[in-house]
């Protein structure tokens, strides 16, 4: 029987977006011992990101992909990280994440979330873990994980967006991100590498 550590070390996870969700998910999976991460984001770090994203003051202005590679290396150098500084779209997602066992949707806009979930479900054969509803503060227990269908796991409260709640906090985004990392570990250990 394969141990959990062995299953994770031969796993590859794709992380689409390295903001409040993606930066937290990447670090949790690296600490858990996932063998390889494919991370993608086109953006640079801004001061306003530091209220919830896992970067440092001296990284402001630099590429999120480059800085996350550096931060992950300092946390767990055994994890192999492939970084893509690209704007993900329906055409390049299947190529960028071709090798991954599953994909974490870590975007911010509703239309980008829609786009990647639709793309993964219609053009690829892997599961995707996605998030809707994590803005504001408090109401921790309204953030839940649901299996919508064999390849779709949905996390969040389903309603609280940045458009209506006006604020994102490290705590509530972090809760959603840890649901996401935890759902990915469960998929890898119990299904994909079972």
């Amino acid at each position: 029987m394969t141990s959990i550590a062995e299953k994770l070390s031969c796993s590859i996870v794709g992380i689409a977006g390295l903001g409040g969700l993606g930066s937290n998910v990447a670090i949790a999976l690296a600490r858990a011992g996932v063998g390889r991460l494919i991370i993608a984001d086109f953006d640079n770090i801004e001061q306003s990101n530091l209220n919830r994203q896992q970067y440092f003051i001296d990284q402001i202005g630099k590429s999120k992909v480059d800085c996350m590679i550096e931060n992950l290396r300092r946390i767990n150098p055994a994890v192999k990280v492939a970084g893509f500084r690209v704007k993900l779209d329906a055409d390049n997602i299947p190529q960028v994440f071709a090798d991954s066992d599953c994909i974490a949707e870590c975007f911010d806009t509703a239309s980008a979330k829609q786009m990647i979930v639709e793309t993964v479900l219609s053009k690829m054969d892997k599961p995707i873990v996605t998030i809707s509803g994590l803005a504001g503060y408090g109401k921790s227990n309204e953030i839940i994980t649901r299996r919508i269908s064999p390849r779709l796991v949905l996390i969040g409260d389903g309603s609280r967006g940045i458009d209506t709640c006006k604020t994102l906090t490290a705590a509530r985004v972090g809760i959603a991100a840890m649901h996401q990392a935890n759902a990915i570990l469960e998929l890898l250990i119990d299904e994909i590498k079972a």
């Binding site: 239309s111 829609q114 979930v117 479900l121 919508i148 949905l154 458009d163 985004v173």
Partner: protein
């Protein structure tokens, strides 16, 4: 005659006895912006470009995942 659609696991009857003709019509009735929705009809992903030409029938089961911004 059963005029029921199962939406996100809940059976929904339509007051005028008519199921919306397409996924696009259903979303319009629910006042949901199609650009924020992923739909699975009887377990099959339906791309947004096909919402207006995918017809609905009584007894079908549809999952609508609606995204709100934030991440």
């Amino acid at each position: 005659m059963m005029r029921v659609l199962k939406i996100n696991g809940q059976e929904k009857t339509f007051p005028d006895g008519k199921i919306p003709a397409t996924i696009a019509d259903l979303l319009q009735q629910l006042r949901v912006d199609a650009a924020t929705v992923v739909a699975e009809l009887d377990g099959q992903i339906i791309e947004r470009a096909n919402f207006s030409n995918t017809s609905l029938r009584a007894g079908q089961s549809i999952e609508l995942v609606r995204f709100v911004p934030g991440g």
